[in-house]
Assembly symmetry: C3
């Protein structure tokens, strides 16, 4: 039904894997590598030339862009040249991923989300819809960012400082929150929805409010449904997680034994 | 000036009403029904195939999608297959309406707004720009949602619970507010701009702040302009409302007599 | 690499300057003027017909739209007919600029930002990503608006009042803030990130919180990096500013002597 091969442009220097589907009106620029079995839907731009292209169109060379295997890039997404993205990557519609963004495996970037570049994501990170990530942040693994979150990079706007946010493994950033430049979000922390976080958050802490204050240890949060402890969430959530079917503990053990090999 | 009939794709199983205009580069997929006198502007996608299309392209069948009469769908809007939308529907640019969304008559969805699906809207609802609606909410009639509002569906992110928000008739949700999963917004309530609403709001209540607290009965709010009572707003606002020209009371009466027939 | 001249539509009544590049799938409607050396990237719409076009397609005449020299309009941007924009204008991707917006020289509008129209911007204004500006605001010169800010225009939603915000020269509006209809933001003020501003802000004031309260004079803010005074910011920031290389004081002097001529 889709994929009618209309108005597609693929550069001669692009390297397209096996069984890749490319949607109508999609453009794939120079030096883009796309892994096997990926779907690049309609109206996408992959390998968008960097700003200096406009200064000298004739001598410009597009830096290498890598998208791994099994990607599903939804329509109208723009990924700049120089990005490096792992396997099993997914986007919503109209995601924007700017230059020198590095994304691990099994990550997703939601509809209308805008990553400004120079940022690193580990594995299994999820950015939902309408998220904004300024430059130079570092995200660990299994960090989930809910809709409308804003990650800033300038502590004294406007200044010459560009310093992102550091979010450690398993951190969860609630919808509509703003995280100030330079803040460190500790492992397994939970940022309540609509919070303004202007200082570091300790591991396993729930913080909330404007400005965000420590509320309690996340391990003390009870589920409204089951009234049982819900956090650390890995024990109670496994959809699309590597521990699906076996449980988090068993997966952790398997990781340790993998490391010993 | 517009509608030059370039690069349009309309599926053979789509059912397009009389006097429908379709913009350039717009795609209308299988089993879409569009009512008479509708305008689908350029670069839209109507009947976007659901996710399982990608799992089995050959056997996939697109569910039926219905858009009523007199729609004005602005450019770059994406409406998923399985949506059912009433008459006189309007969108801004780049609206995204995902699967199993049901929308009544005379509704509008603003620029860059993202409805994640499985949500129901009554008649005369308005979602302004950059609104995000997670799954499984229920909106009554005449509910207006102002720019940047985020409606969530997971009380303990990430969890397996997806429970939306219930917004009763005439509720007004101020710009930049975040409404927590499961909250009930009472009839005729008013959510102040930039609020974080984490518990139910009584009918006719103004709540505001982070977290939102009860401020006053909306009937006690005086207009800054006229210093007269402004709420319930239906007595002071009639643009595009069914009581335009006759007043809210007369319209209510006419509805009651309609029901008796 | 880009600019392959595919599917471009330029109206016969458009007036395109010298050395203008137009991207694929871009549409330039009637009575648009574009200055020399501008780049209009792919999939843009310039001179989008106003709403009354749909009421009478045959007699509609598109109002004049002006974009100055050296513009860089990034892909998927929509600029309505009747806008007047100065020289050296830049947009991110998918900016939306609606009718009767007037923008001075050296301004930029970020990715996914939505300006609803009837608003005026001075020179050197910057709107970052995902900003929303309701109708009828007035921005001075050197006003910077950070990501996710919402500027409203209705004090009692829904009402018949549309009254924007007035932002004076050098005002800085922090990420994720909401500014209420009718508020005046004084010269050189600073709105902290994620604030809700519901009353006027005095010149040189830092306000923050929900609702925003006076924190201190901006001249008392010390840089976290240098522990020196950072505001007024013009003494410590010159990237793309007219005082780059000479300093703010020298530039101010040069302006005064220019005025005397």
């Amino acid at each position: 039904m889709k994929f009618k091969n209309k108005n597609i442009y693929v550069s001669g220097t692009a390297n397209i894997g096996k069984n890749v589907k490319i949607g109508d009106n999609t453009v794939i620029y120079d030096n883009v590598v796309i892994g096997d079995n990926s779907i690049i839907a309609d109206n996408c731009v992959i390998g968008e030339p960097l700003h200096n292209y406009y200064s000298d169109v004739n001598t410009y060379e597009n830096p290498k862009t890598i998208i791994g295997k099994n990607a599903v890039i939804r329509s109208f997404t723009i990924i700049y040249a120089s990005c490096e993205i792992g396997d099993n990557f997914t986007t919503g519609h109209r995601a924007t991923i700017r230059e020198y963004t590095k994304i691990g495996n099994h990550c997703s970037v939601g509809t209308n989300t805008d990553i400004q570049g120079y940022t690193t994501f580990g594995n299994y990170c999820r950015l939902h819809s309408q998220v904004f990530v300024a430059q130079r942040s570092e995200f660990g693994n299994f960090v989930f960012v809910y809709p409308g979150v804003i990650i800033t990079d300038d502590p004294h706007p406007p200044s010459n400082i560009s310093k992102g946010v550091i979010a450690k493994d398993y951190a969860q950033i609630g919808a509509g929150s703003v995280i100030l430049s330079g803040v460190i979000l500790g492992e397994n922390c939970l940022i309540g929805a609509h919070s303004f976080v202007n200082k570091d958050v300790m591991p396993y802490s729930l913080v909330a409010g404007n400005p965000a204050k420590f509320i309690k240890d996340v391990r003390e949060i009870r589920s409204k449904d089951t009234s049982k402890s819900h956090y650390p969430w890995m024990y109670n959530f496994e959809r699309n997680m590597p521990w699906a079917g076996i449980g988090y503990e068993a997966w952790l053990e398997s990781q340790k034994s993998d490391e010993q090999k």
